[in-house]
Symmetry: C2
Subunit: 311 residues, 2 copies
Amino acid sequence: MNHKMGSDKPDILVIGAGAIGSFYGAILKRAGCAVSVVLRSGYDVVKAAGFRFTSPLGDLSWTPDQVYQPGDTPVQIPDYVLLCVKVLPGEDRAELVRPWLGEDTGLVLIENGLDIERELADAFPGNPLVSCLAFIAVSRTGPGTVKHQAYGQLVMGNFPMGFDQHCEQLATLFREGGIDINGTDAVVGERWRKCVWNTPFNPLSVLANGADTLTMLDAPGGEALLRLLMEEVIAVAEADGYPMPADIIEKNMSGTRAMGAYKNSMALDYLNDRPIELDAILGNVVTIADRLKVPVPHLRTVLVTLRIRQG
Amino acid sequence: MNHKMGSDKPDILVIGAGAIGSFYGAILKRAGCAVSVVLRSGYDVVKAAGFRFTSPLGDLSWTPDQVYQPGDTPVQIPDYVLLCVKVLPGEDRAELVRPWLGEDTGLVLIENGLDIERELADAFPGNPLVSCLAFIAVSRTGPGTVKHQAYGQLVMGNFPMGFDQHCEQLATLFREGGIDINGTDAVVGERWRKCVWNTPFNPLSVLANGADTLTMLDAPGGEALLRLLMEEVIAVAEADGYPMPADIIEKNMSGTRAMGAYKNSMALDYLNDRPIELDAILGNVVTIADRLKVPVPHLRTVLVTLRIRQG
């Protein structure tokens, strides 16, 4: 590894330093790493003044060691690249990452959805690949300014399975920086588990024009439909080799009701005219279902209707 | 029957004289009937100047014999009431009709959807009940002004079955007035046949924010989803005792493609902020499916999603 002189901490490069990327960059900075960023928007502001945070964790504001734009030449090959961009059809994430990756650079995905690792595993078969799911409420409020509201835990493991020394090192650093890490040697199963909630609730809320959770549950037939959608996700997960706990639907339902009316991140993306991660959250589930011959009529209806709407 | 003095033609009262009601009123007026109307909007204009039409059938403009508002007392009990209001949850059509109906008055429904006759058959079991489906392109352009663009054929029969002397009389009058009547003794089957197209296309176009037919068919998975929705409608129709022709899906698809991009009436209602006939077109189909234990996962997803959106 290319450690910086005078430090035994790895060098980090965050690609896609929006709310998520700048938050986890801040945590690793706090753990003592050199952390640089590649930005597409807000470059001038971040170059001049770094990231300004409000957070219950204290002052997370930080200044990157290097601020790059796409096309720049890296000063140093990083030990880890954190990829935190949205997973969208127009976005070739392998090409986005390629210029910044050394032979041994660990690739760390902090992204939502299912089967989102494959294109990077295929493009960079020799690089360590760490897959993370973020449980966090954080949003970008302007160029270089971020509001961290709550949580921050990462579920982490290697793709497609395992928990190697790179995971160990990163988990230690994130913990030193102040967040919880839930290590797993079956990260794909954890993605399925999260999809049991996200895959039904997120796209359906977009079809319902940004409806909140309780509006969805309390409409005539709403809770029943959400349960049917969850059952389909669980059936696909099981066929894919990841059986879900028997009580997962009941726990999801009681947890959702306990939380009160809530607009999920995809509903907010939709309401703010931002692209939605439809394939990562739903399209890939239907693709896997079709491959494994699991019927998913309710999921398919939601998917195709959203595709018609995008067309 | 209470025929007007000097005429052997029946007296007609149109309730809900929007585009559809004022068009078929015009046809019966042209056939020599006395035709009165009950109006909720445009009363003053119609009272002063009647209905102004543009139509390929010639000048259909006409002046009603009586112009009523809800709550008025009828001058004469009509031989036939034509009910042409939208079928909406907040609308008690039996109560709307009750003050105007004599013991022998024939009740003629010119309305869309499936199983929309039952509440009237239950409320007025002694009155003849004629059920019609309109195949017409007509729209209200302002108070008392109507644009008839094309077609006008009615499919007509008694509910729940048969074709009695009231149907015969009405069919003759409508034909004299210049439109085609397709008489049937199985009008419910004709409603199912129309639903094979309307039930998939109309609500899905609303979910897709008013998408036209070709946008829906050409989106990835769009035609396949529309076929699945049609197959479900056909399965429910068959379980209800109305098997559909084997080639109905292919004919619907080729006919739809031949027509070019087209926004259906429910899409237009949605885009113009008017209420949509969701239960008449889709909700009743799912209710019948549940009663007959026919699985309709794709239809149910569309229905519940629209209900969430309305909630």
